[in-house]
């Protein structure tokens, strides 16, 4: 855990450079992977050739689809469906990314974002549905959406508090308890929906759909786009709020201190146990809000088989160096990757699982700043133009 925190030690610029280089390097390896995969499969004629060798897949096209495809044709229609999907994914990832980042800052590795998100999503769907019959129209939206978010936050927060309390009072390693709780959350949600809250008119294991006035208004985007700039704005506001909380409040100070150096925090009068529980609750609440947004913005009900937003949140946070503001570009990047993978799947024959590999590689490279420092020092001697990046990166080392 001591080294874990080390990630946040690197200076801001260095972080940025490392994250950028990690991304580039991952794409470069992904490029090779696409080429290699193109040799492993068979096809009639090559779509790409290099040095006289033909490959079945064209990596340029793949990455073009992956990164640019996610934005759709912005010139023709800035509100196109693909871009909407990208923003929707980004929005949810902002919440889970923030959830993981806040816990990280407190020195806790919350792998349970997924479970907290599931619990928050389910609670929101179950609570908003009965409430939606009491109010309607715009007033209904104004009441129901905040109510849903609140329920999601409360449920996710409580579910996050469990591993927090187990860590604080029973010394149980949160990495393990949160992973276990992810399985528990998924199974219990399945049980509840299947046996008690199932939509009787659907084959799917899902709850009854929420009425339109109980979900996020799409405002700018067409209604079918399943994205809401309101939710996105809320996510961005929360990111700013978390940054403020961490940097400028006494609670944030306590949290960071216990994350960096628990002994010093204790010395400084921080109740380590309460801080652990509080930060896990906050983290769970953020993930729970993510779940609520998933229900109120994307799905319109709760359905089993919730996407891996929680796990992606870890990647987002790591890439952002656990900085709440850094989470914004990182979430956008992963929103692009998730949405772009669909374009890749539809538009090329390259398996979209490629994005999963990229995700892993990015995390791997972000975890090894030393590699870039070394590369930087090396490049600094040999290649002046790349050296600029590298020496900056290496300066504080």
């Amino acid at each position: 855990m001591r080294m874990l925190i080390g990630l946040s030690r690197a200076s801001g610029t260095e972080r940025l450079l490392i994250s950028g280089s990690a991304l580039l390097l991952s794409v470069a390896i992904g490029f090779l992977l696409v080429l290699a995969a193109g040799r492993m499969t068979s096809c009639g004629s090559a779509s790409f050739s290099l040095l006289g060798v033909g490959f079945c897949y064209d990596p340029f096209v793949v990455f073009d689809r992956l990164f640019l495809g996610a934005f759709g044709d912005l010139a023709a229609n800035p509100l196109n469906g693909q871009f909407a999907t990208t923003l929707a994914e980004t929005t949810v990832l902002l919440f889970t990314g923030l959830a993981v980042a806040v816990a990280f800052k407190a020195g806790i590795f919350n792998i349970g974002g997924q479970g907290q998100l599931v619990v928050g999503a389910l609670a929101t769907a179950l609570a908003v549905l009965p409430a939606s019959s009491f109010v309607s129209g715009v007033a209904g939206t104004l009441v129901l959406v905040p109510f849903g978010l609140l329920v999601g936050a409360a449920a996710g927060g409580l579910f996050g508090a469990i591993p927090g309390a187990l860590k604080a009072y029973a010394d149980a390693n949160e990495v393990i308890t949160t992973i276990m709780l992810n399985f528990v959350a998924t199974s219990v949600a399945l049980y509840l929906v299947q046996n008690h809250f199932k939509d009787p008119d659907s084959f799917a294991t899902q709850t009854v759909a929420l009425p339109g006035h109980a979900t996020f208004p799409s405002l700018v985007f067409p209604a079918r786009a399943d994205v809401s700039l309101v939710a996105l704005a809320f996510a961005l506001t929360l990111a700013a709020a978390m940054a403020y909380l961490l940097a400028r409040t006494a609670f944030g100070y306590d949290l960071r201190t216990s994350g960096l150096q628990p002994e010093a925090a204790e010395y400084g009068g921080v109740d380590a146990r309460r801080t652990v529980v509080a930060s896990m609750t906050l983290s769970g609440a953020l993930a729970g809000i993510g779940g609520a947004v998933y229900v109120l913005m994307i799905l319109g009900n709760f359905q089993v088989g919730v996407p891996d937003y929680g796990f992606d949140g870890i990647t987002v946070s790591i890439l952002a160096g656990n900085n709440p503001l850094g989470v914004i570009p990182a979430a956008l990047l992963f929103g692009v990757l998730k949405s772009g993978s669909i374009v890749v799947d539809v538009g090329t024959d390259v398996p979209p699982e490629l994005v999963g590999v990229l995700r892993g590689l990015i995390v791997l490279f972000v975890a090894m700043p030393e590699f870039f420092r070394m590369a930087g020092r090396y490049a600094g001697l040999d290649e002046p133009d790349e050296g600029a990046v590298a020496t900056d990166g290496g300066e504080s080392g």
Binding site: M1, M3, L4, V184, S187, Y191, I314, R359, F371
Partner: protein, 378 residues
């Protein structure tokens, strides 16, 4: 009695009581279990009676053994890595990649044994990447381990898609039980005698399962014994332990800490590789959608060795406990013995892990685990 003796005595006593607490809880659990068994055995008609019958059924035991294989191998691997000071939470990833590699090589070569080897090789390659990243480039072990998991989680289905056109591979041969293999082998005299003997033994209640298992189950027992021996009786094992407790002491004693850690991490790759390949080759297919067929077994393995206090035998026992719960849950569901919804029954192993961790959370992890070590650093 001198002060020294009093003090030493008090220390020992204190340590005994903390050990005692653990044993105590264990004993209470054991006693409660015994009561259930006895009452169940005495009342065969009741649900409890049937429950106890299921519990000791040959089928439950053999299921538990089969389910144990990937977890136990990964746990052994985890022990070596973490004891050497490298926390390997990427075990899940090693299992995944080995499961795919195992099936792929078995498919290409047509032999499950080559498949097993293939699984080991792929897993070792990934473990090597992890080792280089952690040892050479001082990566944060937890995050690098997470990356190993994520990479395998993406790469195995990706390759499966490329090679087989879907995240599920085609079917390949599987490991047969040893009696079956003998029966099919071309050693007539020996095999009929042994087969008959095994067949007789396999009908024994409860322990019968031990006589009609696949070779990987026996390999698991061998690996546990060998790991224990290596860890506790050989120089390498001692160096591994020292490297996790006080790498500087090992370094100044003239042993190359990085080398020890490399070996330990690669060993975790070998062991997880066997586990992952065995998992896939017991079904003859790699299925890679969602969390893949490994589905958290690598994480359960971590819990198993923590719960087993880094002792290979302890890890095996806790693996058997979790696998046993899993086996039991499937049997209970099939026989609808208790009216607990299946979704909830499925959470039993996970909840157990949490409860166990809450009670035994204070497993002492090696002093230097998670820390980077560089020779010559003051």
């Amino acid at each position: 009695m001198s002060d020294d003796a009093v003090e030493a005595g008090a220390g020992t006593l204190d340590r005994l009581t903390s050990v005692g607490l653990r044993t105590g809880i264990g004993l209470v659990a054991l006693a409660a279990f015994a009561v259930v068994v006895v009452v169940g055995a005495l009342t065969p008609g009741t649900p409890l009676g049937r429950f106890v019958r299921v519990l000791f059924a040959n089928s439950t035991v053999s299921a538990a053994l089969r389910l144990s294989v990937p977890i136990a191998f990964a746990a052994l691997g985890g022990i070596f890595a973490e004891k050497s000071g490298v926390i390997n939470i990427g075990l899940e990833g090693l299992l995944i990649i080995a499961a795919f590699g195992g099936v792929y090589v078995a498919d290409v070569t047509g032999s499950v044994w080559f498949g097993l080897l293939g699984g080991v090789v792929t897993s070792v390659l990934l473990a090597l990447l992890f080792a280089v990243v952690c040892i050479e480039f001082r990566a944060d072990q937890i995050i690098a381990g997470l990356a190993v998991w994520l990479i395998a989680l993406g790469l195995a289905p990706f390759l499966s898609q490329v090679v087989y056109g879907s995240t599920n591979t085609e079917g390949v041969g599987t490991f047969r039980t040893v009696p079956r293999m003998l029966a099919e082998s071309s050693l007539p005299v020996l095999s009929t005698m042994v087969v008959d003997g095994l067949a007789w033994a396999a009908d024994l209640p409860t322990v019968g399962a031990l006589f009609s298992a696949t070779p990987v189950v026996y390999l698991m027992f061998v690996a546990v014994a060998a790991s224990w021996w290596t860890m506790n009786r050989t120089s390498f094992g001692r160096h591994v332990r020292a490297s996790g407790e006080n790498p500087k002491a090992l370094d100044t004693a003239g042993v190359n800490v990085s080398l020890v850690r490399y070996k330990a991490v690669l060993l975790s790759g070998v062991l997880s590789g066997i586990g992952g390949a065995a998992l896939a080759l017991s079904i003859g297919q790699f299925s890679g959608s969602g969390p893949t067929m490994v589905n958290g077994k690598g994480f359960i393995a971590i819990v198993a060795y923590l719960f087993g206090n880094y002792n290979p035998i302890g890890a095996l026992l806790s693996t058997l406990l979790f696998a046993g719960l899993d086996a039991l849950q499937l049997t209970l569901q099939a026989r609808s013995l208790f009216a607990i919804p299946s979704e909830l029954v499925r959470t039993v192993p996970y909840v157990t892990v949490i409860v166990v961790l809450a009670l035994f959370g204070r497993t002492r992890i090696p002093e230097a685990a998670g820390d980077h070590y560089e020779s010559g650093e003051e």
